[in-house]
């Protein structure tokens, strides 16, 4: 092993961060480890680097216990982005595909870096004094740390990291991932904008639902200069969007994404499903309800006509809905049935329900009871879209007795040896 070369390599890493380790001392330590203790050269280099990092108070490398080490350069291994595992020191070459506003003054830059294997979020600490990187350029990043933040791998650039711009001019075409296969991190999707939702926060530019052949996912775009709204019904290629997870549900943050509209069409499965089973529970809040009349609100009011946002609303609007559980014997589905489907299923129209609610001594409860008695325990098939574990029913049929099914079951029961 060429000790002085290795020692120089180590010292360069730290010199970048303004530290001046003693090259002779490093060389001595390496020599001692290798010659006296029979340590593998790569392992010796790694342990000296670690020791110095501790001394200079830098992030402890290899805390995840990367066994690799690698025979060639230093304690870090050249990796593809997709192979970066939290806890490892890595050297990667990639293209800055997105820069986002640093969320905190201790962060100089943040964004997304990609190569042909995948993409990852990165963070440059302000303390690292790293040169600013430009969107669209390629860099070789040596001795950065892959860390985990909110369950997602994240590249940390600290004072021991070397950044070099490299002259690469490849355009990366990430391959889209089917929506049902998305994982937290950075991914690309090709999807259709199928439903626009009201922005629930003043910093939100747009939110809604995207769909492809395999499923649907919520997305959000936060207000930022240069961000534009998507057009409902259009199909987009969304490169390097951030997949977030909250309460076990995934959503897409498109602020980091490169958004390209295209001409194609997507047959959105949208989680369109049909479930047949028996209605085993009708939940409170079903039947006739009062809704907030404020434009765009439409929240259900309490008995006192109180809207959680707009307070007392005497000029409420009536609506019908059924919330409940549809059970096929193996799994129970949470269902929400909209007004027109409730009308056809129960045979009670909104006008009739309103008449009952206003004139019957039990009021709205009477509508609930009548609907419960006509629906509960019945077999129905519900068609709709499943969102957040709830089936939003847009069509519903009563199951009718089919003598073909009967015969088939008789054959099955009698056909087997008894």
């Amino acid at each position: 092993m060429d000790f002085s070369e290795a020692a120089n390599r180590i010292s360069r890493k730290f010199a970048k961060g303004g530290q001046t380790p003693d090259v002779k001392k490093i060389e001595g330590k390496l020599r001692r480890l290798v010659d006296e203790f029979g340590v593998q050269p790569s392992e010796a280099e790694r342990s000296v680097t670690n020791e110095l990092a501790k001394e200079f108070n830098l992030p402890a490398p290899g805390s995840g216990g990367s066994a690799g080490g690698g025979g060639k350069g230093g304690g870090t291994e050249e990796k593809k982005i997709a192979d970066g595992v939290p806890g490892e020191w890595v050297t990667i070459e990639g293209k800055i595909v997105a820069l986002s506003n640093p969320p905190s003054p201790s962060i100089a830059q943040s964004g997304v870096i990609a190569d042909d294997s995948g993409a990852m979020r990165f963070v440059v600490w302000a303390k690292s004094n790293a040169p600013a990187m430009a969107e669209g350029s390629w860099y070789r990043i040596e001795s950065a740390v892959v860390d985990e933040f909110k369950g997602v791998a994240n590249l940390k650039i600290h004072s021991g990291t070397t950044i070099k711009e490299i002259s690469e001019d490849r355009s990366l075409i990430p391959s889209p991932v089917p929506i049902k296969d998305l994982h937290p991190g950075i991914d690309s999707v090709r999807a259709k904008f199928i439903q626009e939702w009201d922005a629930s926060h003043e910093r939100m530019l747009q939110s809604g639902l995207l769909g492809d052949e395999t499923g649907t996912i919520k997305f959000v775009i936060w207000k930022e200069p240069g961000k534009e709204k998507l057009v409902p019904g259009a199909v987009y290629n969304l490169f390097y969007a951030q997949v977030d997870e909250f309460n076990g549900r995934l959503s897409l943050n498109l602020n980091t994404a490169t958004i390209l509209q295209e001409e194609g069409e997507i047959e959105v499965s949208g989680g369109e499903v049909a479930v047949t089973g028996a209605i085993v529970h009708i939940a409170p809040g079903s039947g006739i309800i009062k809704c907030c009349p404020v434009e765009g609100c439409n929240r259900a009011l309490s008995r006192q006509n109180y809207c959680p946002v707009h307070e007392i609303q005497p000029k409420f609007i009536y609506d019908l809905r059924i919330k409940g559980w549809l059970d096929d014997g193996e799994k129970t589905h949470n269902i929400l049935i909209q007004r027109d489907v409730v009308e056809s299923l129960t045979g009670i129209s909104l006008a009739q329900a309103q008449e009952i609610a206003e004139n019957n001594p039990l009021g709205m409860d009477e509508v609930f009871l009548q609907m419960r008695d006509t629906v509960l325990g019945r077999y129905i098939t519900c068609h709709g879209r499943e969102i957040d574990n709830r089936l939003l029913v847009n069509k519903c049929d009563k199951v009718v007795f089919n003598s073909g099914d009967h015969t088939a079951l008789l054959n099955r029961a009698g056909g087997a040896p008894s």
Binding site: A82, A278, D405
Partner: protein
Amino acid sequence: MSTNTKDMGRREGAFEREPARRVFAAELRECRYQFKDGEDEKSPTFVLLPSGERSNRIFLVGTLTEKTRQGEQNIFYRGRVVDPTGTFFIMAGSYQPEAMQQLAKIETPAFVAVIGKPNLYQKPDGSYLASVRVESITVVDKDTRDLWVLDAAKHTMDRVDAYTKEPTPDILKAKEQYPTIDPSLFRKIAYDALAQIKI
């Protein structure tokens, strides 16, 4: 990347309601074993069906032939619901006020759909009684009853078929708890139930 953590995350937080099993009276009558899934006071209780499936809730449709009001201070109702294979014993007490009111109003005989929780009681003579604590009961028509017989027959045969294939922990437990019961018996029962439907 860190694939394993996220797959778990997707499962968590989502509340899963216990499905209502479809079981004929003749099978429920054979149950002798119930257990709790977990140590917690609120952990669900399951009755193990001899065909090898746990049930915390059942859905049944049959004819309510009899109901009686009992108790002075704590009123509760008992009823008998008959399916093509036997009789379910149902009850609704003051802890199920909605179910009790529904049951109180129904005139016998009537086709009823019952959603409830099965429970096992040991009688003084040592024999077991499976009874269903009603969560909800409504009057339905004959079509719904016939649909249920098909549904219960299908699920019964699905269980019987699964019993002879890859054993699940519940199937192994059933073999241990009900050594004398051959589930193919329930296929025969399903056949008899189906044969009683007149078209």
